[in-house]
């Protein structure tokens, strides 16, 4: 059932068995798993079925740390959450991501990769992907080979992309959730506080407000917070009536260890052969699946060098053709062709047509490049983008700012920080890649990232992955949730999403969010049996 908070009687109290707060990747997968189970479920979603500026602005906040995206642009606040613009990239975390690495403070999960593997397989099916295969040998072809390195110092990994529209969870799974007899999805319902009993060990109800001014309460036996890596922490910190520091924050852990995969240009690779095949490392379709390869150090080398994991993305550049293909005119030409083929493309037809006319020179260059070289255009160089999986850092954190949102709630304040180890690891990884490329006779690499580990380049960027603010650790002094995702010290409050990851890891977060949501769903179903 789908209802709107606007239509709920003001100041009334509703009741359910399980309350899921947030209908993004984690919330939707949990609800899907609970469909037609012998208990009632209510999903509270802040937004509606479509994007709305006013709701989105509830995400606004301040940033006092490293340069970061404006917080209201870093995620989406409507049914489906950030899956509404998710790229759909899936690659599992690796064994080493779960291990405690003695050179990386606060590293390690409370369980091994083996525990999550079965859930990854289930997540994979939910994502409607076909081949649970991550080996480059399975995906490479004679036309699109992997780089022939001379050793196993550098590993090639494969990322698979969830097809459209499967990756839009709101769109894909709404019919099933609406039809489920035990599930109520309540839109425009903003949870402003989780209220506990006198002991503070059990959540009794949540306070709900809509932007139009409606207010009501929802009681439940069990609550699951699934509002994303920043909002999960914010909501716990805002729930401070019983505990002034916030719910689950008895050890000052909520909001700490915020992290995101940090990316910047790490190097430029000059191939010895300008027609070297590099398409394996770009998005391309193989076996009916869109994939792309990436590079990284082998776990053994990472251990020997005592580095944090760093992914290496390859961005081939053909100065003339890349500029032409990225031009506004060529993009508009593609949009027009797509529209003529009956595919949806954003933007106005007339505007696209004008762009084409204005940009005929670029279109000419692009067309010539495509006709003459197809996909094997001559390379000028390949940019190597480093994607750093930063060391967990307690000083990198989300707190409550002084500004308030439209509901009177204090906004989030982000202080994103990285460590010298992160910068060193990025540079060292690039250097090792340079040596391996030289060793294999593939070409030479220029390290772009500088030697000063205390500073960061201007092109440093996050990747919209909000991780770690309610991290998982069996020790309440080291984490906010236990290994079953239950908040330490609160018997009926669970957290889903990337905020429970103890570290950024080398895999893609949404894929693990889904796997962890499935695991949590199993745990809760067991509890209600």
């Amino acid at each position: 059932m789908l209802i709107d908070a606007l239509k709920i009687e003001r100041n009334s109290t509703l009741d359910t068995d399980i309350c899921i707060i947030g209908a993004g990747a984690a919330g939707i997968i949990l609800a899907l798993e609970f469909a037609d189970q012998p208990f009632r479920v209510c999903v509270l979603e802040s937004g509606g079925l479509d994007f709305a500026e006013e709701t989105q602005s509830l995400y606004d906040g301040t940033n006092i740390g490293l340069p970061y995206f404006p917080l209201q642009t870093a995620r989406l606040r409507y049914f489906g959450g950030t899956t509404n613009h998710w790229g759909g990239n899936c690659w599992p975390f690796q064994e080493m991501d779960f291990e405690r690495c003695e050179w990386i403070p606060h590293s390690g999960w409370p369980f091994s990769k083996a525990v999550i593997n079965p859930f990854y397989i289930r997540a994979f099916k939910l994502c409607q992907l076909q081949h649970y295969e991550w080996s480059p040998a399975f995906w490479s072809t004679p036309e699109e080979p992997v780089f022939p390195f001379a050793s196993d110092v550098i590993n090639t990994n494969v990322m698979q992309q969830v097809p459209d529209p499967a990756k839009r969870f709101g769109q894909t799974y709404r019919p099933k959730l609406v039809q489920a007899r035990n599930i109520t999805v309540c839109l425009h319902a903003n949870v402003t506080e989780l209220e506990s009993d006198e002991t503070g060990r059990t959540i009794r109800r949540v306070r709900v407000a809509s932007l139009s001014g409606n207010r009501f309460l929802l009681t439940a036996k069990l609550f699951i917070l699934a509002t994303g890596g920043i909002e999960n922490a914010r909501l716990l910190l805002l729930s401070n009536k019983r505990h002034s520091a916030g719910l689950g924050n008895q050890n000052d852990m909520v909001g700490r260890f915020f992290t995101d995969h940090a990316a910047c240009l790490g190097g430029k690779f000059q191939p010895a052969n300008p027609t070297m095949p590099v398409k394996f490392y770009e998005l391309h379709k193989v076996k009916d699946t869109v994939i792309a390869g990436g590079l990284r150090l082998s776990p053994d080398v990472q251990r020997r060098e005592r580095l944090v994991p760093v992914g290496l993305d390859l961005v081939p550049v053909s100065e003339i053709y890349t500029a032409a293909w990225k031009s506004k005119g060529f993009a508009s030409l593609k949009a027009i062709v797509n529209r003529l083929r009956g595919r949806y493309t954003p933007g106005q037809f007339g505007e696209h047509l004008m762009n084409v006319v204005r940009d005929l020179d670029n279109i000419g260059v692009a067309a010539y490049g495509r006709l003459r070289y197809g996909r094997n255009y001559p390379l000028d160089y390949i940019n190597i983008v480093v994607v750093i999986n930063p060391a967990p850092n307690p000083d990198s954190r989300v707190t409550l700012g002084t500004e308030r949102d439209q509901l009177g709630q204090r906004r989030a304040q982000l202080d994103w920080r990285l460590t010298q180890m992160d910068k060193y690891s990025a540079r060292r990884t690039i250097e090792i890649l340079g040596m391996e490329l030289g060793r294999a006779g593939l070409g030479r690499l220029q390290v772009i990232i500088d030697d000063d580990d205390r500073t960061w380049p201007h092109d440093l960027t996050g990747t919209f992955h909000h991780i770690g603010t309610t991290r998982m650790n069996n020790d309440p002094k080291q984490g906010v949730v236990a290994k079953n995702c239950q908040v330490h010290g609160v018997s009926n409050l669970f957290i889903a999403g990337s905020s429970v990851f103890p570290s950024a890891g080398s895999g893609t977060p949404t894929f693990l969010i889904i796997a962890l949501a499935l695991r949590l769903a199993d745990h809760i179903k067991q509890r209600f049996r």
Binding site: Q270, A272, E431, G438, A440, R444, L445, Q446, I448
Partner: protein, 144 residues
């Protein structure tokens, strides 16, 4: 065999020329090191391009290397060892291919054993950097 001044020059040119060719770098890599105009100027006043594809660039890399390793005592013995191992006879053209292959192997081994140097961020093998260094102090600004 004693080398005359001229034959010595020719010898060094050959060495660096084939050494640089042995690096297997594409032409388009070199202009990254130096401004295009400067390369063109040097090229037009020199006979070197006939023998060396990228003498000017090699020289710049070589100078950078020498600045960072002023007291590189190995440089003088480097040349000797390189030739000795390669068994290179400058008068025998069939040896040149063997020599080129030898340099290639040596460069790859450098990378394998982390005998590398960073010049303007480029990760170069010590062998190739030293070959460039030989160009830097082995050749006059203009030729002849």
């Amino acid at each position: 065999m004693m080398l005359t001044r001229n034959s010595r020059r020719r010898f060094i040119i050959s060495l660096v020329g084939f050494g640089c060719l042995a690096l297997g770098w594409p032409r388009r890599a070199w202009p990254l090191f130096i401004p295009r105009k400067q390369a063109h100027l040097l090229s037009s006043t020199s006979i070197l391009p006939k023998l060396l594809s990228h003498t000017a660039s090699a020289r710049i890399v070589g100078r950078e290397y020498l600045q960072g390793a002023r007291h590189d005592a190995n440089l003088s013995t480097f040349l000797e060892s390189l030739l000795c191992i390669a068994g290179y006879d400058p008068m025998n053209h069939t040896d040149l291919e063997m020599f080129r292959q030898h340099v290639q192997i040596r460069i790859r081994r450098d990378f394998e054993q982390a005998r590398v140097i960073k010049i303007h961020g480029w990760i170069l093998s010590l062998t190739e950097a030293r070959l460039c260094a030989l160009t830097a102090f082995g050749l006059p600004q203009t030729w002849p």
